[in-house]
């Protein structure tokens, strides 16, 4: 009974090692891009999104305060105008960042299409046609957008 | 500019106030604290009227209960001279001979010490690793 323990331990070791290293192995073999959202600028977009939500909540709070009598009309209008301007500034920055991101994505997509045509590793036939497929789809998407 | 200066003034006032309060607190803690001693130190240095936190091991066969008062002797962990304590109040469940206890005491008559009411705490024995508190100091 006790002899089976080292076997289980070994099994665990192999399973864990495989699971943990899978993303890196996949990336190294260039078989599959890991799921990612946006690119380097994705952080900035996420931050702006969060800022926008916070600003909208502030606006909603201010309105609730005014309606329930905590804030007098003058202060409320002043506050709303200021918050509204700040919200618009964030929205503009967000729009600019999003469109810049989209452009970058197209550019990256085009580069990847070019990479697919020159496989770095000898890819068996069935994989190559799959890759070509993605390449073709991306190509269509890319040309559709631009 | 008025604004930054106002800011600095506020910050300075707040910090100074905090520091003053903290110092007051720290100063009073020293006078309000009871020194922690073991039985041999207590016998040597105890001054009448002062309270001490006595830490020691309950000497075997020294525990007696007479009505409301529990009498027992405490000795150093390594053994040695023992101190007699007369204690009234809650006795925590783990209390027994051979266990280490903490009790606040003052000098009493005839070389004995009087335990402050409800100040007896028994430390967990090393065998029982996670005994929760069973004594109060109110």
């Amino acid at each position: 009974m006790e002899g089976v323990v080292p076997l289980i331990a070994l099994l665990l070791l192999v399973a864990v090692a495989a699971f943990v290293s899978a993303p890196v192995r996949n990336w190294l073999l260039d078989r599959q891009q890991p799921q990612g959202e946006g690119d380097g600028d994705g952080e900035r977009i996420a931050a702006l999104e969060a800022e926008r939500l916070a600003k909208l909540r502030e606006l909603a709070d201010a309105e609730l305060d005014f309606r329930s009598g905590k804030l007098d009309e003058g202060s409320y209008l002043f506050l709303r105008e200021r918050l509204g301007r700040e919200a618009l500034a964030i929205a503009d920055a967000l729009a600019a960042a999003e469109s810049a991101d989209l452009e970058q994505r197209d550019r990256v997509g085009e580069e990847e299409d070019r990479k697919d045509d020159r496989p770095a590793v000898e890819v068996p036939l069935k994989h190559r046609s799959a890759a070509k497929g993605t390449g073709a789809a991306a190509d269509a998407e890319g040309s559709g957008k631009t | 500019m008025a604004r930054p200066r106002r800011q600095t003034v506020r910050l300075t006032i707040t910090l100074s106030l905090a520091v003053v309060l903290a110092c007051a607190l720290m100063y009073t803690s020293f006078s309000a604290a009871n020194p922690t001693v073991d039985p041999s130190t207590l016998l040597r240095e105890a001054q009448p009227g002062r309270a001490y936190e006595l830490t020691g091991v309950v000497v075997a066969h020294s525990v007696r209960r007479e009505g409301e008062v529990l009498t027992f002797q405490l000795a150093d962990r390594q053994g040695g001279s023992a101190v007699t304590v007369n204690y009234t109040g809650e006795v925590p469940d783990p209390f027994r001979e051979g266990r280490e206890v903490i009790v606040t005491v003052r000098r009493g008559p005839n070389g004995t010490f009087v335990g402050e009411r409800n100040s007896l705490i028994t430390k967990c024995p090393s065998k029982y690793k996670a005994a929760p508190r069973s004594g109060s100091r109110s």
Binding site: V20, G84 | A32, D93, R137
Partner: protein
């Protein structure tokens, strides 16, 4: 099987080592986005793997406990065949090594959950945060591998274990450590993300949003853990109190206080971009205090009943804590540019100022508790003489600070952001202040005037509750008018649409109720500790309590905790001649494995545990405990004879001898020592705590998917433009 557990621990160390490398590689050396993403995902998977492996280890240990496998040292020392099954299962965390495993397991579980939920966010801080979390896991895992091995085996397997310490055989014991450890581990996560964000030099709105949630979750569990600890102390230990300023109680309170301050001041950073340095320091301090709390319990460095006894764990912990402190200071100081405020405080009469004041009070409270708790070490370092301060010292400083805090919880919700006007404030504070004065008069007249601090507490708490109720009422009225909803619907919709705000109001209400309970129960309790004969009665508070008759049970005590014998009393409480309730406190006597006792004495010579009896009510509890005297000359004679006559291997004979002993006790019961306490309004403490936790839960649950379109349209319509994006 123990080998499997130990193998898991070793694997965990390996995985942590790899994960730390992967995280740091993703943060600093990965050259492309693809590389960074995959190394980060690999590091994240390391955390999942650690969670999996520690779960396997926990399962191995748990099964050993349930199967009474005494080859395991931990099982042999903290469990036995006679320990009831439920307590056997929970006995894992009764020992140093088992509780370390629990800590590591909870850390890995919570980290996995949170890393999974945030896997698409905070991409720059995440690699560092993941590495830091794995570092902590590696630390605790190393403690288990090198210092306190949960899977240590015994060469000579005993036939029976030592049994779970009877003092731990209570239901609350099962919940308290997991809750508390969840609170501790959940505050390591914001620590990691704060350090990570500082390392990555990116602290933005997204970070605020995420960390706020982590901090609230940690606050919730810490609060629940502390509340459970207090409840355990009150309902199940023999001293009749729920808070004694014991070092370990305090150690859990410290991160809770800084966490509370952080949750409030973070709102200021969110709105006004201020207090960034302060917030970073607070969140790093909370994590450090949590580790210090964990350390205190198991180092034996301070005299506390909670301590696991002196151990060799002190040194590694001190090194870790020193690293955390030095690292935190370095990070904050070197990133001061990044943490510069966007705005300044506009007016001392504003919610920002109120929150700042709240923060100062909370940090002040934290300082007081910290100083008092660590005073023995501080005084020894300063003048060589170890000394300690008692509860009166703590009360003297925490009570006024707590009262100021309650006043602030009242003012905070009322006062607008950025700048308030005196006129507006006066208008809104008038009614609640009036309520407070009325309450003060009524309660003072009813007898509370005897304790000014209690009177002030009740009055200020009513003020805070009145303001909260007013806020809710105003909000509901708006919905009823604008959306035409009925009251109940309006209330539910209001809370659900503004969970942060109204969840927060509920927490404030809960805290106010709790403080009323604390004030009333500590200032107006009546306690009697007396020896009573059968038929004798005594006055405790408003009740006349009589010792009616003794009780005795053999092997089947009322609490099913495995006590050999259970001796108690029936008490009758009357008020004005009319019977109010009966109480049946008792004391359980447990077996011992210590040598030198006779066969019968060994069955009852172990730990004696008080089984408290409480009569609860909304207006107050009556608490009772009994210490029966089983060492009368007659009973001692019976016991000694039994020890001589009974054969050591004959359990039935021993039990019969005990039955004889108990019969004698019931026939001629000696006077017993009673501890009786009348506790007004103590149930409000638990009630308030539960309300507060519920409020935190409401504030934590994410709102229904935001309606940006609707809001955007409203904003646009109001401003006459359409917001872009």
């Amino acid at each position: 099987m123990a080998g499997l557990g130990r193998a898991c621990l070793l694997l965990v160390l390996g995985v942590c080592g790899y994960g730390v490398f992967a995280g740091l590689y993703a943060a600093r050396f990965a050259r492309s986005r693809g590389a960074r993403e995959s190394w980060l995902e690999s590091a994240r998977r390391s955390v999942y793997a650690v969670a999996f492996l520690t779960t396997v280890a926990m399962a191995v240990l748990e099964i050993a406990f349930l199967r009474n496998d005494f080859r395991f040292y931990t099982v042999a020392t903290t469990s036995s065949r006679t320990t009831p099954e439920l307590y056997r299962a929970a006995a894992i965390w009764a020992s140093q090594e088992g509780s370390l495993l629990l800590w590591t397991w909870l850390l890995s579980l919570w980290s996995s959950l949170i890393l999974f939920l945030t896997r698409r966010r905070l991409r720059e801080a995440a690699p560092y945060a993941t590495a830091i979390l794995l570092g902590f896991a590696a630390f605790f895992d190393s403690l288990m591998i090198f210092y306190a091995n949960p899977f240590q085996t015994l060469r000579r397997v005993p036939t029976e274990g030592d049994g779970l310490d009877p003092l731990l055989r209570f239901p609350t014991m099962i919940l308290h450590p997991p809750m508390l450890y969840s609170g501790y581990t959940l505050s390591i996560i914001p620590f990691a993300f704060a350090a990570g964000a500082l390392l990555a030099r990116r602290i933005d709105a997204q970070w605020i949003r995420m960390v706020r949630r982590f901090a609230l979750a940690s606050w919730l569990f810490l609060g629940a853990g502390i509340l459970l600890g207090a409840r355990w102390s009150f309902a199940e230990l023999g001293w009749g109190g729920y808070w004694g300023w014991d070092p370990v109680e305090n150690a859990a309170l410290l991160p809770w206080l800084t966490g509370t301050a952080f949750i409030h001041s973070l709102m200021i950073q969110e709105r006004r971009g201020m207090l960034k340095v302060w917030n970073a320091s607070l969140v790093l301090a909370t994590g450090t205090l949590s580790v210090m709390g964990t350390f205190l319990v198991r180092s034996g460095v301070l005299d506390s009943i909670h301590a696991f006894g002196a151990s060799t764990l002190g040194v590694p912990f001190v090194i870790l804590i020193a690293l955390m402190i030095i690292g935190s200071i370095y990070l904050v100081v070197s990133r001061l540019e990044l943490l510069r405020s966007d705005h300044r405080l506009e007016s001392l009469l504003s919610r920002e100022a109120a929150f700042l004041a709240n923060n100062l009070v909370l940090v002040g409270l934290c300082f007081v508790v910290f100083w008092g708790t660590y005073f023995p070490l501080i005084s020894k370092a300063i003048n060589g003489q170890q000394a300690s301060v008692g509860p009166p010292w703590f009360d003297r400083y925490t009570v006024p600070l707590a009262l100021i805090l309650v006043a602030l919880t009242g003012i905070g919700p009322i006062i607008p952001w950025r700048r308030a006007s005196w006129a507006g404030l006066r208008r809104h504070l008038a009614a609640p202040a009036g309520v407070a004065v009325v309450v003060a008069i009524v309660v003072g007249y009813a007898g509370a005037a005897a304790s000014p601090s209690a009177l002030a507490a009740v009055s200020l708490c009513s003020f805070a509750v009145a303001i909260t109720v007013g806020e809710v009422w105003r909000g509901v009225r708006v919905r009823m008018a604008v959306a035409g909803e009925l009251l109940p619907v309006a209330l539910v919709r209001l809370v659900s649409r503004n969970r942060r705000r109204y969840g927060g109001y509920l927490v404030h209400t809960g805290i106010a109720v709790l403080i009323i309970g604390v004030a009333a129960s500590s200032s107006f309790l009546h306690q009697q500790e007396r020896q009573l004969q059968i038929g004798q009665s005594i006055k405790v508070g408003l009740y006349q309590v009589k010792y009616v008759k003794p009780t005795a049970a053999l092997l089947n005590g009322p609490d099913h905790t495995g006590a050999t014998i259970d001796i108690g009393a029936v008490l009758e409480a009357t008020k004005g001649g009319k019977r109010q309730f009966l109480l049946k406190p008792s004391e359980g006597f447990y077996p011992t494995t210590e040598p030198g006792q006779g066969p019968v004495s060994a069955l009852i010579g172990g730990q004696a545990v008080s089984h408290v009896a409480i009569s609860s009510g909304f207006g107050g509890d009556f608490w009772s405990a009994v210490e029966p005297n089983i060492h009368t000359p007659r009973l001692t004679e019976i016991l000694e004879r039994a020890n001589r006559i009974v054969s050591p291997t004959n359990a039935t004979q021993a039990v019969i001898a005990l039955a004889v002993l108990l019969r004698e006790y019931l026939r001629n019961p000696p006077p017993a020592q009673f501890n009786l306490i009348s506790y007004p309004f103590v149930e409000w403490v638990w009630l308030g705590g539960l309300i507060g936790l519920l409020g935190a839960l409401i504030a934590l649950v994410p709102p229904p998917p935001p309606l940006p379109a609707r809001l955007r349209a409203r904003v646009g319509a109001a401003l006459g433009v359409t917001a872009g994006g």
